[in-house]
């Protein structure tokens, strides 16, 4: 009875070319005034005994047509999506058109880290000149001209001035212009006549100074252990090994426990379990006198480290000269 109608409808659906055509077709068949809808409306005019059968057939027809439209819609959508994506296609597996960002120099990277650690403890970063006079570089620091300790500071001279051999002169300058309490670190370039795999004639130092009432070795120990743990890792320990610097008394070499063996001893630490990282000590009373501080009232600690050495330990760099070669492949690691 409705066979022809069904055949035509399915044929038209099959032939639909795009989604728009299909939608028009749906309205023509199943819309309020669609062919099939109109047919359903005629059921009421049929004899009573034929109504259920006709109703059932028409209902099945309606459902079948609906299914056909859905199926066709999906297939058309797929086709359209494919067309669209071919038009938009970018091969995302090609490398990115990269804008290369530069790299921080490893020394500067470590220096920034050191500064942040001490600044967060309350220290202030202070800078000073590289060309110094020997009073600020030596005499004020309790190192008179004929002291054998000057052997370790083989300096470059410019007539009556010199290139500072450490950043301690900045401490002197600060103490001359400010009153305690003082907590400063002074980073900067320093110069000594030495050039090999473990020495550069120019290197970077950070020196620190804390002056207040009742400053003790215990405070120095806490501060430097905190520093070592921040820069090398929480598990690290430090030890104070007695040493000598003219400007501190008592003086120490500060060692950090070896990160490779944890202190048991290995090749990296020369089988001692410890690595030397900095020098430190309690400020010598003569240094205080030289800047007009009363050594009875004020005590303090000072420390100094080579940023190159810290960087070498941190990143396991073997040759200090790499820092001034600036090989791009080296710099790109930082």
């Amino acid at each position: 009875m409705f066979e022809q109608l069904k055949k035509d409808a399915l044929q038209k659906i099959e032939n639909a070319n795009d989604l728009e055509q299909l939608e028009k077709l749906r309205v023509a068949l199943l819309g309020k005034k669609g062919t099939i809808t109109e047919q359903v409306k005629t059921i009421g005019t049929l004899p009573a005994q034929e109504r259920p059968k006709a109703g059932k057939i028409l209902n099945e027809l309606k459902q079948e047509v609906q299914r056909a439209i859905e199926a066709k819609r999906e297939s058309l959508q797929r086709v359209e999506a494919e067309k669209l994506s071919a038009k938009m296609w970018v091969d995302v597996t090609l490398p990115g058109a990269r804008r290369r960002v530069g790299h921080r120099h490893p020394i500067m990277k470590t220096l920034e880290e050191i500064e942040i650690i001490f600044v967060s403890m309350g220290f202030k970063v202070v800078e000073g000149p590289e060309i110094e006079d020997s009073w600020h570089n030596f005499d004020a620091l309790n190192t008179p001209e004929w002291h054998p300790a000057r052997d370790e500071h083989d300096s470059f001279y410019l007539d009556d001035l010199l290139l500072r051999t450490h950043t301690s002169p900045v401490q002197i300058r600060t103490m001359l212009s400010e009153q305690p309490p003082i907590a400063i670190i002074s980073p900067g370039r320093v110069y000594r006549r030495d050039y090999d795999a473990t020495h550069l004639p120019m290197f970077t130092q950070v020196e620190g100074l804390y002056v207040d009432e009742n400053v003790s070795v215990a405070h120095l120990k806490y501060t430097l252990e905190k520093f070592a743990q921040e820069i090398f890792g929480k598990q690290r320990r430090i030890r104070l090994r007695p040493s000598f610097f003219p400007f501190t008394e008592p003086s120490f070499e500060v060692d950090v426990s070896c990160g490779v063996c944890g202190g048991k001893g290995c090749q990296a630490c020369g089988y001692s379990g410890w690595l030397e990282i900095l020098g430190a000590g309690m400020v010598h009373p003569n240094v205080f006198r030289n800047v007009g501080y009363d050594p009875e009232k004020w005590t303090g600690f000072a420390f100094g480290m080579g940023v190159e050495r810290i960087t070498m330990l941190k990143y396991n760099i073997k040759d200090m000269r790499d820092f001034v070669r600036n090989d791009k492949r080296f710099l790109e690691n930082f």
Binding site: A97, M108, I131, A183, F244
Partner: protein, 789 residues
């Protein structure tokens, strides 16, 4: 300093292992860098030569049979002086000798040599030997000689800080060890026979230079027999790094190593009238010392002389003319105390560093002279058969007395940040040979004169601390009050610039501050700030520009096939201003090769305008008006250089390096460079500016292409536009066109101008009028023409 362990243990009985000794000394400040293990290993025994026969195939060799008490071995030797019944040290196969060679049975011209007869060199007892060592001591055949002579004794390599000259002698180190382990220090024997003749009948000493030589002690001995030293003495010297010479010289070295007090022995027969005169040198005097070199004196040295000649530079080195020789029979022995500063000055000016000067300039004990003299005579008597007269000459008019230092209990505890028991403090100080009295407030101490490093309370605090052990001090957080922000504004400003440049693709570099003054002169034609004592010629001055350094980094990379380089450095440059050295912090930027090497969609190369783009970006970020003005600069390429102005003041340069740089540094390609004065920009920068109000009325844009001839500065047109109307918001360039349709030497530059009013919408008509007038004015003013008239 090298400290043979067996020697050290002679003065302290301890059951500590060598590792423990090394560790404890290190933690007390006597830094042991290494424990040296001698190379010798295996079996060397005392044997007797039973039979000597010629070698059948060589006249230069002998074949010997040697007997070690159990077996007889055959050995072949080229030392034809070894005879029957000679006792020799034979090394068994597998033994490693001191020079590293391994003993193996070997056929020598057809005869199998089973063992090696050792020379002193092979035993590590001499630096160079020519003969087999024939044993002189009464040693039983079969004795294990490595053990008997202790030649495998380990040696501590110790680093002594300059404040501890007392530890430049083995007794000094033993004293430290004794204090650490609680054992007594056993001082060595000093006994010897004194004959009845008075020393003053043989020796006379006049000290004229008391400042240089506060104490001069002399002794006299005769009947001395010069020979080589016994094995034990040679071994100790060799292990301590001193070459044995003869018994008397060896004894003087030995006593110096033992006590830390350098001594000198003269051939008495060379001293005119037996009269020693200690005097200050005169400038220009000449002397030949034991190193066989001639020196001209500066007049600051303390001389040991006689009436006719100089016989030593006191505390530094003896003269050739009076040294001990193989024929010496009578000797004069010197134990003196020289002024440390005078010794250091003399040693520096003569450029002589001797074991003696090293110790004297740090300061030896003035008060151990008699002990040292006795120790010296003890050995000369026992080893070299010398005979001493009665007494010594001792010129010591102003005695140097021990210092008294009071240590307050409160100060000790405050500085260490911990409490040390009173009794323990006393114990520690006494173990270091101080005289100690406990009082109500602390400890009254008398410091022995060998500790010239101790003179104030803090010095004693250090002594207590290092023996007590710093590991026993608990860390304690200091109460630091932060003052202001952590960084100065300049320092934060520098950080911002670094971030901008790194973000723009530049790698940060650190370069040495040195340059070669001749290269600087050649490339820039300026005189640089020269060092008085440079390390090398190519680092003889401080760089006047950061390009020296940056270009080294560039060249280092280019030589490694890395040709796309964008680098910068922020550092000081140096110059002389009216004779005064001046340092200024600069920013140096270098660009070469591909502009964006990692971006394959962009194949542009670095150019001057890209470098200027960096400058404009800095201007914008740092809120400064950095202008470039064309300027011919010698070391930059003609037509591609300019100076950078900030509010009219020159603060930098920009350009392409001239080809001389390419030649000198062997780099091919265009190198762009810019240098800016960081401090000047900082002073003018308004990083904390207020943001501009965001406009709410629309803008009107006009574009115009103008034909610009070569050499014309388009910047003039930009500024003309900028000043042309109150409504100009922005002016810029949208295109630069060079085409065949344009005349030679002319480019078309398209300028754009954005107009905007803050309070209303501008009309096209009013802007057309303004724009047209401005373009005409530009044509009239600069004589240029628009491209599409």
């Amino acid at each position: 300093m090298l400290v043979p362990l067996e020697w050290l243990r002679e003065y302290v009985q301890t059951d500590w292992t060598e590792e423990e000794i090394a560790n404890r000394l290190t933690m007390a400040g006597i830094s042991v860098k290494n424990i040296v293990v001698p190379a010798i290993k295996g079996k060397v025994v005392c044997a007797i030569v039973k039979k000597v026969q010629p070698h059948p195939n060589s006249e230069k060799l002998h074949v010997l049979e040697v007997f070690d008490g159990a077996n007889t071995y055959r050995t072949v030797t080229s030392d034809l002086t070894v005879g029957e019944n000679s006792r020799v040290a034979i090394a068994m196969p597998g033994t490693v000798l001191s020079n590293g060679s391994i003993v193996e049975p070997a056929s020598i011209k057809g005869i199998l040599s089973e063992v090696v007869m050792c020379s002193l060199e092979e035993l590590g007892l001499e630096t160079k030997s020519e003969y087999v060592y024939q044993i002189e001591e009464e040693i039983p055949i079969g004795t294990d000689l490595i053990r008997y002579w202790k030649i495998d004794d380990r040696v501590l390599e110790v680093e002594i800080t300059p404040n501890r000259p007392d530890c430049l002698g083995i007794i000094g180190i033993a004293r430290e060890l004794a204090a650490l382990c609680g054992a007594p220090l056993q001082m060595p024997e000093i006994d010897f026979e004194q004959r009845n003749e008075d020393v003053n009948d043989f020796l006379k000493v006049s000290v004229e230079d008391l400042d240089g030589c506060p104490r001069y002690c002399a002794g006299y001995m005769e009947s001395v027999k010069i020979n080589h030293s016994p094995i034990w003495l040679r071994r100790r010297l060799m292990n301590a790094g001193i070459r044995p010479i003869n018994n008397v010289v060896d004894i003087s070295n030995y006593v110096m190593l033992e006590t830390g007090h350098p001594v000198h022995i003269f051939d008495y027969s060379q001293i005119t009238d037996g009269h020693i005169i200690v005097r200050k040198a005169q400038e220009g005097e000449q002397v030949t010392l034991l190193d066989e070199k001639q020196y001209t004196l500066k007049g600051i040295e303390t001389l040991i002389a006689d009436r006719k000649k100089i016989i030593a530079i006191g505390g530094i080195m003896g003269a050739m003319n009076s040294g001990v020789t193989d024929c010496t029979e009578k000797i004069a022995l010197e134990v003196a105390y020289f002024n440390p500063v005078r010794i250091r000055k003399s040693s520096k000016s003569l450029n002589i560093k001797s074991d003696a000067s090293y110790r004297f300039e740090r300061g030896v004990d003035p008060n151990d002279a008699i002990f040292v003299m006795k120790r010296l005579m003890h050995f000369v008597e026992k080893i070299a058969h010398g005979k001493a007269t009665k007494g010594f000459v001792d010129i010591y008019p102003q005695r140097i007395s021990p210092k008294q230092v009071f240590l307050r209990r409160s100060r000790l505890h405050a500085v260490l940040g911990t409490t040390v028991q009173d009794q323990r403090v006393k114990e520690i100080l006494e173990s270091l040979e101080m005289n100690v009295h406990i009082t109500k407030d602390g400890w009254k101490t008398q410091i022995p004169t060998f500790r010239n490093d101790i003179s104030i309370e803090e010095d004693i605090i250090e002594e207590v601390g290092r023996i007590y052990g710093y590991e026993k001090i608990d860390p304690q957080a200091p109460k630091i009050t932060a003052s202001g922000k952590g960084w100065s504004d300049l320092s934060l400003f520098r950080k911002t610039i670094r971030q901008i440049l790194i973000g723009s693709g530049f790698d940060e570099t650190v370069n040495l501050s040195f340059a070669s003054s001749s290269v600087v002169k050649d490339l820039m034609n300026i005189d640089s700030l020269k060092l008085k004592n440079p390390m090398t010629e190519d680092m003889d001055c401080l760089r006047p520009s950061l390009i020296f350094g940056l270009i080294d980094a560039l060249s280092y990379n280019v030589k490694r096939q890395i040709k796309d380089v964008k680098i910068f450095e922020i550092a000081k440059t140096y110059s002389l201003n009216n004779g005064v050295p001046v340092e200024r912090e600069k920013i140096g930027i270098v660009m070469m090769g591909q502009l964006n090497e990692e971006d394959y969609t962009d194949n542009r190369s670095a150019s001057l305008l890209n470098m200027k783009g960096v400058l404009d970006e800095l201007s914008s970020h740092l809120s400064v008006d950095l202008q470039v003005v064309p300027e011919q600069i010698d070391w930059l390429t003609a037509g591609r250089s300019g100076k950078i102005l900030l509010e009219g003041e020159e603060i930098g340069v920009i350009g392409m390096l001239n080809s001389k740089f390419n030649q000198v540094y062997d780099i091919k390609g265009e190198i762009y460079y810019m240098e800016l004065d960081l401090e000047r920009i900082f002073e003018k920068s308004k990083i904390c500016r207020q943001p501009k109000e965001i406009p709410s009325f629309p803008a009107v844009r006009r574009d115009i292409s103008i034909l610009i001839p070569v050499g014309f500065a388009s910047g003039q047109i930009l500024s003309f536009f900028a000043r042309s109307s109150e409504y100009v918001e922005k002016v810029g360039v949208s295109d630069v066109y060079k085409g065949k349709d344009l005349p030679e030497g002319v480019v078309s530059v398209t300028f754009y101008v954005i107009y905007r009013a803050f309070d209303r919408s501008l009309t096209d008509e009013e802007i057309n009028t303004i724009f047209e007038k401005t373009v005409r004015d530009i044509e009239d003013t600069f004589g240029v023409k628009r491209r599409f008239a």
